[in-house]
Amino acid sequence: MSVADEVRCLRRTVALSDRSDIGLLRVRGAAAWDALDRLLPCELYLRDGEARPTLLLDDAGRVEADVTVLCEDEDLWLLVEGMPSDQVAELVRGSAEAGEEVVVDELDGSHTALGIDGPFAWALLGAWDAPGAMGLPYLSSYRPRPDVLALRSGHTGEYGYLLVAPADRAEVIGGELADAGSALEAGRASAEALSHCAVESWFFDASEPGTRLRTPLELQLQWRVSRRKEFRGSAALRAARATEPPRLTGLRGPTGLDACTPLLLAGARIGTVAVVREALDAPGTLGSAFLERRWAHSGLVLHTAAGTEVRTVSPPFLLNRSLFASPQRHTFADAATLPDPYP
């Protein structure tokens, strides 16, 4: 199945994915919260079962990793994309002060993650005998099995769930999910398909080379960062605010537009294409560019040096079917009645 077909399947029904790329750590001990509060840029107040998307920044305030921090009982889980788990563990341990008890369990060898994304992802979990998923709020978790943690999250703009399971049970659970998804026309989504969906729905993707090592100010990720607390990179961010850095802006262009292409306004260079994908909803491409802040708005007509026209637009790029699919009101039988994201 092509990447485009995988994306269409995910957008229209549901797709399963191997998320073994996500680093898994559990932080325990009396000082676990304090250590993470010093390291992570978000305000760290979480109820049991609640998660929060945040980041790991370097000392220059640039994003090194995409992190979801989840509270379960007294422990804090870190689900990390973009940085090896052993490096994250070292940062966490380094955030503990002398005499503080902080234990970091690196779980990549013993556990793995499975992804379920799509407007009927909740229906697949329900069919897998996990009815608790139907009413699970976004960024909440529960245990459908004693050894399986389910977190409602996702970077596709559709209903999404991550199942964290023992690695030696992953194949069996994956088979059970595939069986449960057969009646829902479930497919599989590769890393490329998930990345395409992230671009379409304007989600930050730590694996995207075009947006690596930029600050939250440039990436429009200020919502993941506190302005009130000190953390690794906070001083650099304060200094960066005064410089009015470029900002990531949505764009649509012609087929063949490449990342790193300079963009011109009235002949003057004002930015560079950062990310680009062939669009599935219309001819041409969609993606993003870093533009000088004063020009980082939708509605502009820019050009490449070759004279090709590129337009800035307001993302996200499509109307997700999940906006119209309700676990309380619909079943899979209603799928055909819901708006199709692609013509």
């Binding site: 200020q222 919502w223 939708s298 307001s314 109307l319 906006l323």
Partner: protein, 80 residues
Amino acid sequence: MLDELRRLLIDALHLDREPDELDPDTALFGTGLSLDSIDALELVVALEEALGRRLVARGEAVPAVLRTLNTLADRVLEER
């Protein structure tokens, strides 16, 4: 327009954020600012009162319109 919408959003929903922290393409619902359905109704009422026009058609899904500050601005400009 975006600055006006930022101030309306902060005032209507008592957001603990400075205006320049509200990036124009940050999601308002689900991820991003994580507004809920009650916030959505309060926001629509406040916006329509302040701007003096209907922004969301009867039967239209509010989150589909109020996805980000930019899409909200696009809708306001369409209605002008």
